[in-house]
């Protein structure tokens, strides 16, 4: 299985996810076809591509969030450190505790800032010093200084950018291994966006990150690996998404294999 592991260096990166011929259906309709790719540890992998090509759909496969959508079905093989994520004995709740998620729209719970973070820690049954975890998580999400005096305030009283960082803090509080982010900056101003990008670069020391983004600069700034998706029309105007190619971000942005990828990342269409 393992391909050409470089035994000389100790900075061998491990494979976290491996996707084999993954198809995703919504009801009878195929939405995403035949995805094969690997996600590596401590790397930021970005998903780019036109709207509707299945980036969010694929992201939700990694933490089995598609289970919440009635009619959604995942075919093929998704392994997490070699274990089949969709195996019969796998408890999706346990999966989601290891693989956290930050959503496109900031969605703090209608609870205090403190409770927003404590909730995940409690449901995970972690025996920890809660005050410490809250502080560390907020520091980790670069939010501590702004909220340390108002931990009792509602999470909803924060600005959009602060809310999104609260959601990141909430995700890292349960000490996941992977953080999935679906367009985490799409509702934010450029300054908040930059802060979150810096945060992502810091977070990758400890976590493996997969991020969906429509912002090419963002992908080129934060991602080590970039995957480009596209959608093709099938019968009756339905479109099916597929992975065009993926590789080091630099390669995807400068010398991709497909001309179409280059057109897309440089904003030329025709």
């Amino acid at each position: 299985m393992q391909t050409q592991v470089d035994n000389q260096t100790q900075t061998e990166t491990k494979r976290v996810f491996k996707l084999d011929n993954v198809n995703v259906y919504y009801g009878p309709h195929l939405a995403l076809r035949d995805v094969n790719m690997d996600i590596m540890e401590h790397e930021v992998t970005s998903f780019i591509g036109p709207s509707g090509c299945g980036k969010s759909t694929l992201l939700r496969c990694f933490n089995r969030l598609n289970d919440l959508i009635t009619g959604a079905r995942v075919e093929g093989n998704v392994t997490y450190h070699g274990a089949n994520l969709y195996g019969e004995k796998v408890d999706p709740v346990v999966v989601r505790r290891k693989i956290g998620m930050v959503f496109q729209k900031p969605n703090p719970f209608p609870k205090s800032i403190y409770e927003n973070i404590a909730f995940g820690v409690r449901v995970n049954g972690m025996k920890v010093n809660m005050d410490e975890v809250v502080e560390q998580s907020l520091r980790g999400a670069a939010l501590w200084d702004e909220v340390k005096d108002k931990l009792k305030d509602s999470g909803l009283s924060l600005s959009g950018g602060q809310q999104q960082r609260l959601c990141i803090a909430r995700a890292i509080a349960v000490q996941p291994e992977v953080i999935l982010m679906d367009e985490p900056c799409s509702a934010l101003d450029p300054i908040s966006t930059l802060r979150i990008e810096e945060l992502i670069k810091e977070l990758k020391q400890k976590y493996t990150i997969v991020i969906v983004t429509h912002n090419m600069q963002q992908a080129s700034r934060v991602a080590d690996v970039t995957a480009f998706f596209n959608a093709e029309a099938v019968e009756k105007g339905r479109r099916v998404g597929y992975l065009v190619e993926y590789g080091p971000t630099e390669m995807i942005f400068n010398t991709p294999r497909e001309q179409y990828t280059l057109d897309y990342v440089s904003g030329r269409f025709g």
Binding site: L68, F103, N107, V123, N124
Partner: protein, 301 residues
């Protein structure tokens, strides 16, 4: 009238655009005025009856309310004066308490099922359909229903059977208002909780229900207010009692039934008690509505 100048956007002598309403064509103005008057009349149709009820009931009942005997005494025997309806206040509280104990848990759990588990399933459709039908069933029939399934088997009118009747009356209101409250909680909350490893049960009990709590409480209060004023379902169930009673298995007096009986007998002291009881009921219902408003004010998202 409508000159061409008017139509083309008049200007004032100073050359600035005329933005006052007189610059709009006279016709439009007049239609607007008529519509305003018409809607005002309809508003009056709604408000005047309410004011008349308050005026009439309040005018006759309010002066009596300051007599504290009202709340602590039994009604006088026919022909005598004074007394009160303390027993009916206790009876109303008891029947409503029993009704709440039945309809709140059942209704809220049914609504949780409808909103969180059963979306789009056949059972959910059936439950919703039944709740809608139940809303339309006349209160007196609900009383007859409770008579058949509780009073007959137990062999006597009782506070408990009255509570069952009111509970059945409240059930569809509780189900529908709670379901709506839960559906108002954005789906992002469910995803967020699920996404950090909360089980479905934890998501519902610790995130969704707390987030919907103020709206749920509002619905519960309104269902109680609705049931508090009902006499019909109680006539065949709790019936009436001229004496103190706190035994749920025996007949009990309630405010609406007391009003009903005392307003049709030809004794002035009893009629006065009926008016006073009517005011007490009105105050209870209005307070409940205000409370409900207060709770629904606490917006969560």
């Amino acid at each position: 009238m409508t000159s061409i100048q008017d139509q083309a956007g008049a200007t004032t002598p100073s050359g600035m655009p005329d933005l006052t309403s007189s610059s709009v064509s006279g016709n439009r103005n007049r239609v607007g005025t008529i519509l305003t008057i018409v809607s005002g009349v309809f508003v009056a149709f709604i408000i005047i009856p309410l004011l008349l009820v308050l005026w009439d009931v309040g005018g006759r009942g309010l002066p009596l309310l300051f007599n504290t005997d009202l709340y602590t005494e039994l009604p006088p025997p026919p022909g005598l004066e004074d007394g009160g309806f303390g027993h009916a206040i206790i009876g109303s509280l008891m029947t409503l308490g029993i009704a709440a104990a039945i309809s709140f848990p059942v209704g809220v759990l049914a609504a949780v099922y409808l909103a969180e588990f059963g979306r789009g399933t056949r059972i959910a459709y059936l439950v919703k359909f039944s709740a809608n039908v139940l809303t339309g069933v006349p209160a007196i029939l609900i009383g007859l229903f409770a008579y058949t399934i509780v009073v007959r088997p137990l062999g006597s009118f009782s506070a408990f059977s009255g509570g069952v009747a009111l509970g059945v009356l409240m059930l569809p209101i509780v189900i529908r208002s709670t379901e709506e409250a839960l559906l108002l909680v954005p789906n992002e909350m469910r995803q967020a909780a699920t996404g950090i490893g909360a089980t479905r049960f934890q998501t519902i009990t610790r995130i969704i229900i707390p987030a919907a709590m103020s709206a749920i409480v509002t619905g519960l209060i309104l269902s109680l207010a609705r049931a508090a004023g009902e006499a019909a379902p109680l006539l065949f169930t709790a019936f009436n009692n001229s004496f103190w009673n706190t035994d749920p298995m025996r007949p009990i007096a309630t405010l609406p039934v007391l009003i009903y009986f005392f307003s049709i007998i030809p004794y002035k002291p009893q009629q006065d008690l009926a008016w006073a009881a009517a005011v007490v009921l009105l105050i209870i219902v209005l307070t409940a509505s205000l409370l409900a408003r207060f709770f629904s004010r606490a917006k969560k998202f």
